[in-house]
């Protein structure tokens, strides 16, 4: 029994170790050991050191246990032969109390240095153009979590800080220049300060390649930061359990160079495009009057009409219902701002692709979502106060009109971005 057992043990550990090493080499989008920015790299350096130190200690203890276990094996005692009865050794014991304390002290120094570096921010105001006027912008994004998607708010004209928001309810944030969801567009190479909060329960914002996580706590505005070395897409996942669709609350950071970032700002600052033929309808709606579409109206124009009659009690599109919008009929009081929906590449909390890999509109998922959101992503939309998009009972014609309208809310992102941001 004994000898094969030891071999099994050894074999087991070798296999585990081998698997461990090969496992870490795999290419996971959320891998915590593949830093793509200075902050996460700093954490990774510390983590490498502690893994090495811990590994050495673990190996020492394992080798000691296995050695002792084999060397002093004696089997079931059949006589009164006893080994030497040692009750202890104070020098040794004080030694192995002090030694781990000293190892810990060394690790503690490294930890504190890294910890305060990760929690510091630098002044790195950048020059941007807002409505044609130059603006000195300290890159900051207000991150708001709610069940089960993330909102990103850009205050370009004023450098908002966490202190400015103290005491403000996250359901009542000051109007932002740009509001997007699921995808945060940032300039690469810049330190982006995040101000993280929530409109309902606690969530946690985590882009592993760029930094660790920070909880989104209702009533609090927690500072955090991210920084990407290079343009690219960095995946994230809500990591604080937030209820039913916690698993399906994701996000992406899309880092672009400064030029592309300015182009993105310019596009996002425009109100939504109104489809040809629906101008009169939208204008009338904004004046609280009614109007009808011409008989030969395009599908997109009919979609705008469907949006006005079905979606405006929750969703906001600048240029359509921004004058009358008072917040969503949701526990969080919010639904994604759809002004430039089609300029994003994912929807529904970054779990569904808005575009197929070939660049065409993902009509299937978008239609299915409009048909019955809960079938694609669990939600609590039938609660007295809903959480998540309800099934509106839309007809197939209405769905196809809405898809046509929503796809005009561009501009369409680059093929590169569509390719890099594909989720499955």
């Amino acid at each position: 029994m004994r000898k094969p057992s030891r071999r099994t043990l050894f074999l087991g550990f070798s296999v585990l170790l081998g698997l461990l090493l090969s496992g870490c080499a795999s290419n996971a989008e959320l891998d915590t050991l593949k830093p793509k920015g200075p902050v996460s790299r700093e954490i990774n350096t510390l983590s490498n050191w502690v893994f090495i130190a811990g590994g050495v200690v673990l190996l020492t203890i394992f080798v000691a246990v296995i050695y002792i276990a084999i060397k002093f094996h004696a089997g079931k005692p059949d006589n009164d032969e006893f080994p030497e009865q040692i009750h202890g050794n104070s020098t040794l014991e004080i030694g192995w109390t002090i030694l781990p304390a000293m190892i810990m002290a060394v690790i503690a120094v490294g930890t504190l240095i890294t910890h305060f570096a990760v929690n510091s921010t630098e002044a790195n105001a950048m020059e941007i153009q807002v409505d044609g006027a130059p603006q000195n912008w300290e890159p900051t994004v207000v991150v708001v979590g709610q069940q089960w998607w993330w909102e990103y708010r850009y205050y370009l004209s004023d450098n908002i800080t966490a202190a400015d928001l103290k005491g403000v309810s996250a359901k009542d944030l000051p109007p932002a220049d740009i509001v997007t969801s699921g995808q945060m567009i940032v300039p690469s190479g810049e330190e982006i300060e995040l101000i993280i909060t929530s409109r309902d329960v606690i969530h946690s914002h985590w882009i592993p390649a760029l930094n660790g996580k920070r909880d989104a706590v209702p009533g609090r505005y927690s500072p955090w930061k991210i920084q990407a070395d290079n343009p690219g897409v960095y995946f994230g996942q809500c990591t604080e359990f937030c209820g039913l669709s916690h698993a399906r609350m994701r996000m992406q950071v899309v880092a672009v160079d400064n030029h592309d970032f300015q182009v993105w700002i310019n596009n996002q600052m425009r109100p939504a495009a109104v489809p040809a033929g629906a101008e009169a309808l939208v204008a009338a709606y904004r004046n609280d009057e009614s109007a009808t579409l011409p008989d030969n109206a395009s599908a997109a124009a009919r979609g705008a009409e469907a949006f006005i009659s079905n979606c405006t009690s929750c969703h906001l599109i600048n240029g359509v219902n921004d004058l009358s919008y008072t917040g969503a009929n949701q526990v969080s009081g919010a639904a994604p701002n759809l002004t430039h929906l089609a300029s994003r590449t994912t929807f529904a909390g970054a779990v569904l692709n808005l575009y197929n890999a070939d660049g065409s509109l993902n009509r299937d998922d978008l239609s299915a979502w409009l048909r019955d959101p809960a079938a694609l992503k669990d939600n609590a939309s039938t609660d007295p106060i809903p959480r998540g998009m309800p099934n509106l009972g839309l007809s197939e014609n209405t769905i196809s009109d809405l898809v046509a309208y929503l796809s005009t809310l561009g501009p369409k992102p680059s093929m590169q971005q569509i390719h890099d941001t594909q989720v499955n």
Binding site: V50, H115, P208, G212
Partner: protein, 662 residues
Amino acid sequence: MAIVEKPLSLDAADVVVANRPLGVLTRPKGGNGWRDWLSTVDHKKIGVMYGVTAMFFFVVGGSEALLIRSQLAVPNGRVLSADVYNQVYTMHGLTMIFLFVMPLAAAFANYLIPLQIGARDVAFPRLNALTYWIFLGGAIFLNSTWLVGGGGADCGWFCYSPNSGVIFSPSHGVDFYAIGLIILGIASLVSAVNLITTVINMRAPGMTWFRVPVFTWMMLVTQFLLLFALPVITVALFFLMFDRLFGSQFFNPDTGADPLLWQHLFWIFGHPEVYIVVLPAFGIFSEIIPTFSRKPLFGYSFVVFSGIAIGFMGWGVWAHHMFVSGIGPVSVAAFSLSTMFIAVPTGVKILNWIATMWGGKIWYATPMLFSVGAVTMFTIGGISGVTEALAPVDSQQTDTYYIVAHFHYVMFGGGVMGLLGACYFWWPKVFGHMLNERIGKVHFWLVLIGMNLTFGPMHILGLQGMSRRIDTYSAGFGFALWNAVATIGAFTIAFSLLVFFFNIWKSKKDATHLPKPGPDPWDARSLEWMLQSPTPEHNFDVVPEINGLDEWWHRKYGYDDDGKVIRIATVEEAAQKGDAINPHLPSPSFWPIVVATGLPLIGYGLIFNLWLAVPGGLAVAGGLYAWALEPTDDPDGPHGGHHDDHGDDQPVVVGAESNEES
């Protein structure tokens, strides 16, 4: 007060019978049927009931674990809906912690503490029965939510506010969580008071603090942790219950509450809770490893003091569960440091156990295999814990499967494997026959391989970025392989449990034709092995005089002039015969179970209809009155020998005993 400086001795037959006291109630007689189990106040029977209940809930919690692992075996798994998954993982955590590991540790504490300190029973025998019945009632109440509460709690065992509020969790699951844990907390709290009193007051003559066996020491530290931790969680649970049932606003951020209040209260309880789960195992290792190494524990006082140190330091690390919650960099730094340094006393223990094996003559019986396995698995969990203590590193690791791996190595690898080893070690003492060694070894290797297959890959998954508490995952994240392996591991553990049950059944069957194990089958060291197996109902015929640490071993062995160990007495000579005549034992009582029945009724009343709480309240109040009024003793029962140890001027047993029970 139960101050018995010199416990009862039973060597003479000078019986003093008290007058029948006033009172309309009589104490029930002991017997062998179900009435005996319902009315028993015997710490051994209560310990067995704790153990059986705990193993039942191990099966329940284990089934929940298998559902979780089945769901996660492949990407986009749909064995359970998201809603049910959230309920199942919540109830898995609650069941395993509160209904399996804690009561299994309580089983050993109840059974062994009086034996290890040379006592007749615990300080308050009826209270001891009460704690078991309250625990059982709480356990049934908590799980009855599946049937009557609209499903289990769906907020995680940590149940963070405001996700625990009515808006976000409209079923009754969280109500059952709050009230169920309050009830279970009452049981643990009462038990803690009882066991602390027992250890402080009822040690055999000569058993000074540094002659107390390490298992009893670690249990004592555990009971102090319970004593101070449970009131904190109880306050938090009352807040939660009032928020949900009566519309108070303790945790509603819209009315100005700070949701982090719950987190602080929960983790001030929750972190000591980790040590509550693992310290009993530390005590078990400290009994088993010396026995099977044939050496005394290396550095007894270091092991005891490091256990006490863990008990104290365990209160200063709770916010390491909140490193990313936004409590500010300075407090994070402070808790990061305190957490790193709690590794020191833990490391000391591991090194002491290893040093105990050094130079020994090691016998790998099943209990020893489990203990050595558990120490090494715990070491893995301890070291992954150090990486998490580093706040910046933790900001990547927290709320990922890395944490799941870590605490399962600590709680399953250290705690549960330690307790399984304890089952094999003390089985003959409790049931009078050994568990089959060959099957036991198969059991051990299956558990060891199973747990490493299950929880080992979770380290990788966590570092790959797999979040905790997600009901499914996409194929694109590269999580599929290791989740599949973990699921295979989970079923291996489940199979090992079946092997264990088979062993229990087969060993009992074989016991009829195998030789009896005798009082001391392992050549062990502490007092319980001085007694016959199974332990006689009255424990000790004569309370032993304690002359040193490892008293029982020193009654068997001495040293010759060269300092070599020689046997001075056989087990048969040194052991007690278990033949005391008419030993005086605490009388059974039905009132503990009556009182305990009232609490779940009050719970259902709070949730469904306050009228239900009326019979519950009556059961509690009436039961307590009857408890107080029933005679403290059965005047017709045996009263043991003369009581010269009580002083000659105190002839009436009943008077003295009345103070001994609560």
